[in-house]
Symmetry: C2
Subunit: 216 residues, 2 copies
């Protein structure tokens, strides 16, 4: 009985996710589901991305948090449309929450939708939202062994961003070992090394994103 | 129907957690449920704690991970009993998993049981394990705003350990603002500032733990 109920929940989520993606496609919006541990730098990456693309790409943001509007308030200063989802304790955002957010955005005026998930390396990977690409950040202080411990997240993402490269001198992080671990799980993943603080490497991430936008 | 099923799951977990605690009490074992984001330093804290207490306290460890035995392998070198729980995708450890682990330990030969939960600031807070105290780590690079974003975890823990204090010069972390946020949610929580890398502040944490062990 229990399994059946859970199965139904996942099926329902997938159906709504598919409808979300159809709605995004109709409006020619590229949507990214951005995931990471708490404090890895999702909001900082979103801010950097908005600033670098602001002359050419119309970006909007959906902010997912269990509680608070701290991140939405930071995004709001960039004068892009931002919708806050408070999950009320739930450890991930699901397709229905994203559907509600889409309804409150003018999709015809948006090229790129950045969906910031709840900070969590586990559960967000399990729920489709309707976004076209899954993107994750890992910050250098978290350590290079994370692909072995959280394999689903590293397996599903098309882009993996190693953030806080400026902290490398203080951390025991072997970037070659990390790349090897990721490639073992997910050979097609693109890995970007960046520091949202110093700006290092952000241009490579933005170039990838611009190519994805052109492909649409 | 859905709510009822979930309610039953939580009730069943609580009942097993209560039995776990009775079993621990019967054997005069103090158990800690140690939680944090991925990579905040749970295993490093456990290693430091084992080393500092090894002449006076018989410690054992339960390692919870979604996959891999990386952390258990590190602990194993300290020659203390260690049991690995692999949750097989589940985002937290529950009372039943801990019950299985307790059955494979000689509880009469243990004073202190350190249970390392899955790296996740959300779900582990919701599931009682039977441990007497909840302890969490937050690492400095994660940022000082986390109590606002993950309030349940910060509300439930008796001890909150700020790790990676050696990274403070490179991080935008306001320790006073952090303490204020924690105190607002959880006025009784003890906050410890440590660096498992340099050893800074570990003695305060160990003193607290020794006092808790004496109280039993």
């Amino acid at each position: 009985m229990k399994v059946k109920v859970l199965q139904n929940i996942m099926d329902a989520n997938d159906q709504i996710a598919t409808r979300n993606q159809q709605l995004l496609d109709k409006n020619k919006v590229l949507a990214l589901n951005i995931m990471s541990s708490p404090g890895a730098g999702k909001t900082s990456l979103i801010l950097e991305t908005i600033r670098r693309l602001k002359d050419t790409v119309r970006t909007a943001v959906v902010e997912g948090d269990i509680a608070s509007t701290i991140d939405a308030d930071r995004i709001n200063k960039e004068e892009v449309p931002v919708v806050q989802i408070n999950t009320g304790g739930q450890c991930h955002i699901d397709a229905n929450m994203v559907n509600n957010a889409l309804e409150s955005l003018s999709l015809e005026d948006i090229d790129l939708l950045l969906i910031e998930n709840v900070g969590n390396l586990v559960c967000p990977a399990e729920f489709r939202t309707g976004a076209h690409k899954r993107v994750m950040l890992l910050s250098v202080p978290e350590g290079d062994d994370k692909p072995y411990k959280y394999p689903l997240m590293f397996t599903l993402c098309q882009a993996i961003i190693v953030n806080k490269m400026d902290m490398l001198p203080l951390a025991d992080f072997d970037i070659t070992a990390f790349q090897r671990a990721v490639t073992g799980l997910n050979p097609k993943a693109r890995i970007f090394q960046v520091s949202c603080k110093t700006g290092e490497g952000i241009e490579n991430w933005v170039s990838w994103l611009e190519a994805e936008l052109k492909d649409r």
